[in-house]
Amino acid sequence: MRLLPFMLLIGALLADGAFAQDIGNNKEKVSFRAVDIFVKSKGQPLAAYQVQVAFLGLKTKISGIEGGSHPAFKKPPLYDPKAMQTEQVIIAAYNTAPAEDLPKGKVRVATIHLQITGSKAPEFSFKLITAGTVEGRKIPAKVAVEWRKKSREDRQ
């Protein structure tokens, strides 16, 4: 009977996963990867885009967002600062430059840097909310998200 409170306490701790968490955290590795966000505008100049990306599971956190490869979208896109250290973000950017200075076809518009805990790759979902051309007109476009190929420096 006297042991009952101790047993209840241990049971509560186990249920809480405190011990499991301690063991888990000691063994879980942290890695850093990046995903490239591409918008394919099918031959029309891309003047604006808005994409939502979500990484499923709590073990992936967004640690940084940078701009893309084309000069029109070189600057980091707009996003809610609260997205940092969460699993989802809406990114968007626009450029009022003339059509000849805007990208066409498949273009990397942004890169999202991730902090991943554990060895399982996160699943992610993404959605193109909108894309537009020079007159502000919506254009049919697609979004693609790809893991960035690790360079030698990333492996060091």
Partner: protein, 183 residues
Amino acid sequence: MDKRNQSQPEQEPKAPAKLVTDLKDLHKEHIFVPPKVDQSILNAAREQLEETSREPAEQETAGQPWIPQWAPWAAAACLMLLLFLTLPGEKHTSPSALAKASVSAKEVALKQKPSSLATMISRKDINKDGQVDILDAFTLASRIKAGAAIEENWDINGDGQVNQADVEEISAFAVKLGPEDNS
């Protein structure tokens, strides 16, 4: 000839132009610094530097009778409150006074943000497609850049002007994650 003079004409080692170009290309990628990092450094700086600048003021008051710094402000606030409670309110009865009052109320109303969410969102829907997204920010930015006609209700931030600040308000709204924060 002195051996040292013989070696002096040796020029600084040169690199081929293509090598220099490729070296620059290799290092042109810039590391993005998240705003969180900036904030943490600048907050630490603010804390430390404000503490530093406060210390001399504290030293100066040593030896004087202790008077809290907020005392004058508290006294002023009490006086204002006393005046407010004791002075009779003015009554606007003349038509011109009424007109003035209504004009000033209208100015205040224009500056205030509408209280209903639907009205707030519809003002940001610049291209009237039923949703507020980056295309609305882009449309407004393009119109401002081109000097095209601007609608008064596009003054999203209520500062009396329609400019880039309003574009930024729309952009920030478009990328906001949760619907709960609509400020």
